[in-house]
């Protein structure tokens, strides 16, 4: 129930923010070609889009529509907002899922080892690599990785190679699809892994010092069992939070990565919709992103309850 005020607040915030931006979609539409346009054309455009109507009418319309999952049509393309989002959603989702898989499969084992071998060279190496991952701008990694692929293939085969730039869905051509999505997923996954790895390490360290682990060790239980059955499960709690929050962020948060890799995803759509001053599309996108954030919080809570029976869902 607490999600409702958050959604309403976010809806109101985006509604007001968009309208505070000077100019409007008609100026962008008529002017972006670089040629000049007449006031007459501007008026016709305004009339067509209905931009002059009172804010309160537009606001109530937006809310009433949102309640019925109807966000209207995009002011830019005239297509339903839902359809515009649906075109881009699979790309973002795919990169987010792939990056999460990459991150989790790197972060949890390495984080655990790092904690167990605290202050050895392995720990130092893992920590250095992970801090470097957090410290480098992700777009930078992206640009460099594309160039790296181009240069390496040119050096080896004489012909520079890069993945196709014409995206196809996974079910149509899995190989081409994966070749397109792999690099962005790796660059995003690296930073994501770095964050989760640090979290795993510190959570693990904390758990390892708990009394029950020490008791288990004193009782002579096998180290493997201690780690797998007792320590890791408890240490995963904060890690799951980080993964949940990061995942929600990835949908729509990959603005820069989608730009670098020319992916037609939600993040790029957000930038476009604000730049085009497309009120309806931006509003729909914000509702979507906030809903995802809220839902993923809920999922994290459920997962918590499953991992730690002491926590009761209230």
């Amino acid at each position: 129930m607490l999600t409702f005020p958050t959604l309403l607040g976010a809806a109101t915030l985006v509604f007001i923010l968009m309208r505070l931006i000077p100019g409007d979609i008609c100026l962008v539409r008529l002017g972006s070609g670089g040629t000049s346009f007449t006031a007459q054309a501007l008026d016709a455009c305004h009339a067509e889009i209905g931009i002059g109507r009172p804010w309160i009418v537009q606001y109530l319309e937006f809310l009433w529509g949102a309640v019925r999952f109807d966000f209207g049509t995009s002011m830019w393309s005239g297509k339903p907002v839902i359809a515009e989002i649906a075109t881009r959603f699979p790309v973002s989702l795919e990169v987010a899922v792939l990056a999460t898989v990459i991150a989790v499969s790197i972060a949890i084992p390495l984080g655990t080892i790092s904690a167990l071998k605290q202050n050895t060279w392995i720990d130092l190496l893992v920590r250095t690599v992970s801090i470097a991952g957090i410290a480098s701008p992700s777009f930078w990694l992206g640009i460099m990785s594309i160039l790296f692929v181009l240069d390496i293939t040119q050096a080896i085969t004489g012909h520079p190679w890069m993945p196709s730039i014409d995206y196809v869905p996974l079910w149509k051509d899995p190989i081409r699809n994966l070749s397109i999505v792999m690099l962005p997923a790796l660059t995003v996954g690296y930073r994501y892994a770095a964050v989760s790895m640090r979290m795993t390490r510190s959570a693990m360290l904390e758990v390892l010092r708990e009394d029950y682990i020490r008791t288990a060790r004193a009782k002579g239980l096998l180290e493997k069992i201690i780690i797998n059955r007792h320590a890791l499960k408890n240490a995963l709690l904060p890690v799951v939070t980080v993964i949940g929050i990061e995942f929600a962020f990835l949908i729509g948060g990959l603005v820069v990565t989608e730009q670098v890799f020319n992916l037609n995803g939600i993040g790029r759509l957000m930038v476009l919709s604000v730049q085009n001053q497309d009120y309806t599309l931006t509003q729909g996108l914000v509702i979507l992103i906030v809903t995802i954030a809220v839902v993923s919080n809920l999922v994290v809570d459920l997962f918590y309850a499953w991992l730690d029976p002491r926590i009761r869902l209230s």
Partner: protein, 303 residues
Amino acid sequence: MTDLAPTPTSAAAFVDDTYVAPRGVVATSMRFLRRQPVGAIGMVIVVVFGFCGLFADWLAPYSPTSNDFAAMTEPPSWAHWLGTDQLGRDILSRILFGARTAFIVGITSAVVGGFSGLVLGVGSAYFGGRIDLILQRILDIVMSFPLIIMALAVVSIFGTGIHNVIVAITIPLIPRCSRVVRSSALAIREVPYVDAARALGYGHSRIILNHMVPNVVAPFLIMLTSFVGQAILAEASLSYLGLGVQEPVAAWGLMLQGGAEEYASTAPWIAVFPGLAIMLTVFGINLFGDSLRDVLDPKMRER
């Protein structure tokens, strides 16, 4: 790191021990340097770049903004240690001045965002009830709101420039800081001495300042450090999207945008050095922050 003094039993005791004790800043730093060599490396990196930023006017061999069409895209040489960019501007000079911009953006955002979060978090925890509820809901909204839309809107409304970049970066930091501070503060609020202080008729401000704030200082400082790094990275990302600091101001993110991408394979020095500057600085800040956490967070202390 294993020779640390006995672990204090509570955060309060520890914080008093390190920060309120009249041992002096120098002595405390020296102790930190000795016991956290990795953190010390981080600190040295940060101090070096901070020094560059502060004294850029004296250190920089050239003006960071003046174009030199006779020396466009020149590779590193004795005249230009790090080469020149496509407008013939000396990259070393721009990196030195860029350090200033980076620290202005990083520290201002972190401090403003951090302290606003601190005030809101402690206030929310202390007063509780309706104030807490409303504040938390507002922060929920800001936290779940897509950052990019916020940043784009701020920049579209006010225009690009260093002040607006700082605003765009600071806003999302506030709720994150306030969350952490609030939960630490809530734990203290239930401690009997706060009730006792209240019963004795101490004023709100006195209780908050004397009892609650010291107890949240540790997580707060750790967060503040990581905010500085995050803000520097955020500035770079915003610049990449054309929403950052504006030309001809020297800023690392800006140096990576546009031109750097264009020349990444023909004149790599244009792109490599500012990228390295960002990486090194944020790396240093994070190293320092990690060690700070090891020192400040009693739970994380090694035995």
